[in-house]
């Protein structure tokens, strides 16, 4: 700290901040902090090339017809017009995505939070084991396929076999082709695998809280654990909460792989068709990259929007 102040004093400033334009001032500050910018360059190059670039590019393609083999043709807003006015399946997929997001997003978020909170109460050794158990489904990639075995459509599948044995059904249920069953099943599986990175972040957050604060709070008159959670624990881990929220929003909107793996692509009568599926359908199967880009742009916008919303909500924590 002391050194910093010394450096700051030694720097000569010919003009005051108020004498400069915004641009001038920014430039000046950049020059002053140039080592930091140099260190950022490698990351920014990769970030621009592989993340910003594609986003911008797909925004551009969304105004074209592009079949991946020939040069794109600019068609203005027609992709968007078709998307909103002439594509029932897109609307269906928006509906499905919202259902998925609304159910799995908050539920998995709060599940992560509360499971982390409970686990945090355990002795350290047991905590490590239990953490691994809860985290395991999300690290071991395709492990949700065991649900496919459990609910196999074959009469020898576990659930079908039991139901047949108990004479509840007479023919095997095609669980992943049976419309009423597909969505709930996929949601359950999604929740099962959702205790992922955010869950770990929460555990980390919980452990960094200064114990002294709890003591102080107790002296200040906290009456129960709920108050302690709301007034001390959560405000202390706002960063982790935000991180967890972003993760769970993106994953619940980008939800698709599990449905494809379990129910096939596309799902029976599009009953579990999400925006991501719609995007894959047009981009991968129909070679309509322009249209697929338009879908991607919409998805991007929805995600940004919900992130802003969640940010607003989180700022209310502890108040």
């Amino acid at each position: 700290m002391a050194e910093n102040t010394v450096t700051a004093q030694n720097v000569s400033r010919p003009t005051a901040r108020k004498d400069m334009t915004m641009l001038q001032w920014t430039w000046k500050e950049m020059k002053r902090n140039y080592p930091a910018y140099i260190m950022c360059i490698p990351f920014f190059m990769i970030f621009t090339l592989f993340t910003v670039g594609p986003v911008v590019l797909s925004a551009f393609f969304s105004f074209t017809i592009f079949n991946m083999v020939e040069a794109p043709k600019i068609v203005g807003l027609s992709n968007y017009i078709r998307l909103f006015l002439d594509d029932d399946i897109f609307l269906l997929s928006v509906k499905n995505t919202l259902i998925f997001a609304v159910v799995t997003g908050p539920v998995s978020y709060f599940m992560s939070l509360f499971v982390a909170w409970f686990i945090n109460e355990l002795p350290p050794k047991i905590r490590a084991v239990v953490t691994l158990i809860f985290y395991a489904p999300s690290i071991s990639g395709g492990v949700y396929m065991i649900w496919g075995v459990l609910f196999s459509s074959d009469s020898y599948g576990y659930v079908n076999s039991i139901l047949l044995e108990l004479d509840i059904i007479t023919t095997p249920i095609q669980f992943f082709q049976y419309e009423p069953a597909v969505m709930p099943l996929c949601i359950v599986v999604a929740l099962w695998t959702s205790l992922g990175v955010s869950f770990l972040a929460f555990i980390g957050g919980l452990q960094t809280i200064d114990k002294a604060q709890f003591e102080a709070a107790a002296v200040d008159g906290i009456r129960n654990r709920w108050q302690e959670l709301w007034y001390v624990t959560l405000p202390n881990m706002k960063q982790q909460l935000l991180f967890g929220a972003v993760m769970s929003i993106t994953s619940s909107f980008g939800f698709g792989a599990i449905v494809t793996a379990l129910a096939g692509f596309p799902s029976q009568n599009y009953c579990a068709h999400t925006i991501v599926h719609h995007l894959e359908d047009y981009g991968g199967q129909r070679f309509e990259v322009g249209y697929a880009s338009a879908i991607a742009v919409i998805l991007f916008a929805v995600m940004i929007g919900s992130n802003v919303l969640v940010n607003k909500l989180l700022s209310k924590v502890g108040q």
Binding site: S155, Y156, S161, Q177, N269
Partner: protein
């Protein structure tokens, strides 16, 4: 015995079959091929009846050598006396039913002459019979001298009949191996006699080609299945007897058949006493090393030198390149396969033999080899040379486990042959196999009573309905336990092998515990147990062994051979390999020969697996490079999705292989693929294909009658056939249906016995039904779907009814259910399932077959057997035309699809992958060169003649999607099939129209694809 009862049943069944065959032939539209196929099908069922009635050698030999219980004397005595030669020229030939003699590779000739040896040529089909007169009624052994005529790369197979009957099951499929040798050119031999292998473009040694080197071989007829050692004996009557060989596969010449005294092999103790009394040990320095990859002859094309990288001291070894340094492994594991070595002994005397090997296939047990020295098994124990399991390389001296065997060699050239057999495991495995057969039969009988999912609370009356079977279950459990104990004893402890068997024994024990409920409860588990036992048998049947070298050395030579290198050798080797891994490129298979400056360079991409690519490469090097010196081919393996981005970036290939038909059209309509029909030589090439394989790639431009364009050349073709279990049909006494009417008549019979049918639910199967009913998939020249026509709606209703009315399962594990027999009829892709099942269920050999899918009887009485096929193809990218390499690319395709190259490739695949390597070339002419049996070829010929193409239009991806939606709607919600399908007509049509509008390009018709008007009539 039960044989009489069986005979009665048999004759009854035969009568049924004959009547039904007659009925069939009335139905049949086109006479010859159809009739032949029907005949073959009924023959296979007949054969299944015979197979079911066969006794085993063990039972046969026991019956023959124990006194008759009534007369208390032996019916047959062992013959002892001089060998009796059969007059070989007296052979009588009876051609196979319906086999066109002109298609055979060799004609029957009773008076042939090969290399000055008088012999009889027996072709690959038909039966040849000899008459032999013996002085007394008795038991005789038979020996035979044969010559493996040059033909396909598969073993010769014959059924032996004595006096018209197959005496026991083991001689039903007698194997006669062929003789193959590495095809070396003079420049491959170094001065010291060792081999210099050819080098490929990456500096790696290439395995030599194999050629058949026919020779005269004399064998005593013995067990081809590897369970029993020594020769068989056969009961002959006094006076005239007939011995016949019925051809199953491949032609062969026979110069001598002798009936003779049955002799047992001498024991090692006797052998040792003989040699020790006469000879002294070889001098201590006698040491002959035989590199295992340097074979003199082998029994199979598949036995080629391989590259072992697992050990630093495998000789020779190189860390930088792949060198030929070992032999065997997976390709040397089937009963009867042998490898023979030649070596020269300078100092006569008594020797021992060592081997350096690795055996990591059969955990906790050993694999066995039968040792022949100079063509004979020297003593009985040489039948059971064991190679123990270990994850590392080992060195062993040939022994019986305790004492090392000693052999006498005189001065001169000797041969040493190792043949795959079960050795000491033979009896155990044979027991296990017959127990499995019994369990399977009991399983099917319970299935017939109680269905696939028996209810524990229902009284099925098992005890009064199948009392014998129930009693037998308990006995089998005990026998299984003793088999498990034997395996534990042989392997020196409990292993996963014995545990598998014990599990089954426990389940059976529970079932036998006098409780109906337990039978029902254990039943479902029994099915998986049957599967496990079968898998175990397959595993034990795969006696795979990898050899590095053999050493023939003096008994006094005590120098210890090393099993594995020391720490430094190993480390140095691994370090080298690690470093080299950064520089070697294994995805590019560049040409060996440097093409000239003016040669056209073309780039060919393929998506086949990396083990198959070298085959293509070596064919290119050996054949294409020789005939097309002006074209140089660069072959690359790529991942399937690479083509699109590569084309987009302008980095695509000239020729892409293995393209799905839908992709070919999708790329074509976007202008990425060249129309090959305008290229020189297209017409001659196209004539090689059945039109069904060209149909998906052929479109009319502008309108259905517009000019045609063809976007690719077919490469492989697949289609569904009807697989059936001949034994189930034989037992139930029903004929294999050839029309849907018959099929519907058979269905209730199978269902009443709780059997299931494996029906497909795919769009291609629906299209098959539509074609059979005279409809088409698309209407209006390919612009709309036919889902609103009566024909399609009827066909779809039929398809749904299989599931909804006849309770055919939608999801099922085809191979397992077909194996247990609960699904005796199965519609599946001919090549995939055939390959899978051949290796998956070896115990069912001869008990299953395939035929055309049933046909539809049209109003005029003819039967339509149309069957839809799908293809993969090779395309020329449009970029090639701008680069000027299109013609060269077409030359390559044209060469690749020629009969001989496709045949060669198919054979190489079998050499590489074994029996599961059958290849579904789209060039039907190439099938004649592949190792299919003559009856299979007839059925395939018939199948090909009915194939129809599955038309491909842009936007076609939407059709299977909505068809399945409609299909599941009928199953899940009980919707009426036609209503369910009609609901999606508009959605499909609007997608097709939208896609057409998107891709059409104004007045330019090159993007306006229509289905050619004449496509269905061809």
């Amino acid at each position: 015995m039960k044989k009489t009862k069986f005979a009665a049943m048999l004759s009854l069944l035969l009568a049924c079959l004959m009547v039904s065959t007659c009925v069939l032939s009335v139905f049949a539209g086109d006479v010859s091929d159809r009739d032949k196929t029907a005949q073959i099908v009924s023959d296979t069922v007949k054969e299944a009846i015979e197979i079911l009635g066969d006794v085993k050698w063990e039972e046969y030999s026991l019956n023959m050598t124990t006194p008759n219980p009534k007369t208390k004397v032996l019916d047959y005595t062992m013959y002892s006396g001089a060998p009796i030669s059969v007059n070989i020229g007296s052979a009588v030939y009876e051609p196979g039913v319906n086999v066109d003699q002109s298609t055979l590779s060799y004609q029957f000739d009773a008076d042939a002459n090969i290399d000055g040896v008088k012999c009889v040529i027996t072709p690959e089909s038909g039966t040849v019979t000899w008459t032999v007169t013996v002085p007394e009624k008795g038991l005789y052994a038979i020996s035979l001298t044969y010559y493996d005529l040059i033909s396909k790369s598969t073993n010769i197979e014959r059924t032996l009949r004595v006096n018209g009957e197959v005496p026991f099951n083991e001689v039903r499929n007698l194997l006669f191996t062929k003789t193959w040798a590495d095809d070396y050119k003079p420049e491959n031999f170094a001065d010291d006699g060792s081999i210099i292998y050819d080098i490929d473009g990456n500096g790696n040694e290439r395995r030599p080609a194999k050629k058949q080197t026919p020779e005269w071989t004399t064998i005593d007829i013995g067990d081809p299945t590897g369970y029993y050692n020594g020769m068989f004996f056969f009961a002959l009557e006094e006076g005239e007897n007939t011995i016949s060989l019925q051809s199953q596969k491949e032609p062969m010449a026979i110069s001598d058949i002798t009936v003779k005294e049955y002799t047992r092999q001498i024991t090692y103790a006797e052998y040792k006493a003989q040699i020790e009394s006469k000879y002294s040990p070889a001098p201590a320095d006698a040491f002959i090393k035989i590199e295992a990859e340097r074979t003199s002859t082998v029994s199979d094309r598949t036995l080629y030198p391989i590259n072992d990288v697992s050990s630093a001291i495998t000789s020779p070894q190189s860390a930088t390149h792949s060198v030929m340094n070992a032999i065997g492994g997976e390709s040397w594991q089937t009963m009867g396969q042998w490898i023979e070595y030649e070596f020269t002994v300078d100092q006569p005397g008594i020797y021992q033999i060592d081997a350096r090997y690795i055996q990591q296939k059969i955990e906790g047990l050993f694999v066995s080899r039968r040792l022949y020295i100079d063509g004979v098994v020297p003593f009985a124990e040489a039948n059971n040379i064991s190679f123990e399991f270990d994850r590392n390389w080992q060195v062993t001296t040939f022994s019986d486990g305790e004492t090392a065997f000693e052999f006498y060699f005189d001065k001169g050239v000797h041969t040493l042959r190792l043949e795959v057999c079960y050795g000491n495991l033979g009896k155990t495995v044979s027991n296990l196999r017959s127990l499995l057969g019994e369990i399977n039969n009991i399983y099917l009988r319970i299935l017939q009573i109680a269905g696939t999912e028996p209810d524990a609370n229902t009284s099925y009356q098992f005890y009064s309905r199948i009392p014998k079977d129930i009693k037998r279950i308990g006995e089998i459990a005990k026998e299984l336990e003793s088999v498990a104990a034997e395996i534990e004893e042989l392997g020196g402890g409990a292993s996963s092998n014995s545990a598998t068997i014990e599990n089954v024994a426990r389940a059976l024990e529970k079932m036998a515990k006098n409780s109906e409920e337990q039978i029902a409860k254990q039943f479902t588990a029994l099915k998986s147990h049957i599967g496990n036992l079968g898998t175990l048998l397959n595993k034990l049947g795969g006696q795979s062994l990898e050899l590095d070298y053999l050493v023939v050395r003096s008994t006094d030579n005590t120098e210890k051979l090393k099993a594995e290198g020391n720490f430094f050798q190993k480390s140095w080797y691994e370090i080298q390999r690690f470093v080299v891994s950064f520089t070697s490129d294994n995805s590019s298979f560049a040409s060996v020969t440097e093409a000239g400056e003016d040669a056209v360079k073309i780039e060919v991409w393929t998506t086949v697996s990396r083990e198959k690519t070298p085959l293509i490469r070596s064919l290119v090097d050996e054949d294409f490079a020789a005939t097309h010196s002006d074209i140089s081919v660069n072959l690359k393996i790529v991942a399937a999705g690479t083509l699109l981005p590569a084309t987009l970036a302008g980095q695509g290939p000239d020729v892409m292989m293995d393209v799905a038909q839908s992709d070919a059209i999708n790329y074509a309509v976007r202008g990425a693929v060249l129309d090959v029909s305008k290229l020189d030589g297209y017409d001659e090439l196209a004539a090689k294909f059945h039109y069904s394989s060209l149909a998906p790639l052929t479109v009319a431009l502008g309108s259905a009658n517009g000019p045609k364009a063809v976007f690719g050349i077919p490469q492989t073709q697949s289609f569904e056939v009807m697989f059936f279990r001949t034994d189930v049909f034989a037992q139930l006494g029903i004929t294999v249906p050839t029309t849907w009417d018959e099929f519907y008549a058979v269905l209730p019979k199978l269902m009443s016995k709780n059997y299931q049918i494996g029906m497909p639910k795919s769009l291609s199967f629906l299209t098959t039904l539509i074609y059979q009913n005279g409809g088409s998939l698309y209407t209006n020249e390919g612009t709309t779907i036919s889902f609103d026509t009566d024909t399609t709606l009827d066909s779809f209703t039929d398809l749904c009814n299989f599931v909804n009315l006849y309770s055919c399962p939608i999801t099922y594990d085809a191979a397992n259910r077909f194996r247990t027999g609960e699904m005796p009829v199965l519609f599946a892709d001919y090549i995939t399932f055939y390959n899978q099942f051949t290796v998956f269920a070896t115990e069912l050999k001869g008990l299953w077959s395939f035929t055309t899918i049933p046909g539809t009887v049209r109003n005029d009485g003819t039967v339509d057997y149309s069957n839809v096929s799908t293809i993969s193809c090779m395309v020329i990218m449009k970029d090639a035309a701008t680069r000027g390499t299109a013609e060269a690319g077409f030359e390559f395709i044209n060469w690749w699809m020629q009969d001989d190259i496709q045949g060669e490739y198919a054979n190489e695949l079998i050499a590489l992958l074994g029996p599961a390597g059958k290849y579904n070339s789209a060039n039907y002419n190439a099938f004649n060169a592949m190792p299919w049996s003559s009856s299979e070829l007839i059925v395939l010929n018939e199948l090909f003649s009915h194939l129809k193409g599955y038309p491909e239009m842009h936007g076609g991806y939407i059709i299977p999607r909505y068809m399945l939606f409609a299909f599941y709607a009928t199953y899940n919600n009980g919707a009426v099939p036609s209503d369910a399908l009609l609901e999606y007509v508009d959605a499909i049509n609007s997608e097709l129209a939208r896609k057409r509008e998107e891709l059409e390009n104004g007045n330019d018709t090159s993007r306006s694809f229509y289905i050619p008007a004449d496509s269905l009539s061809q």
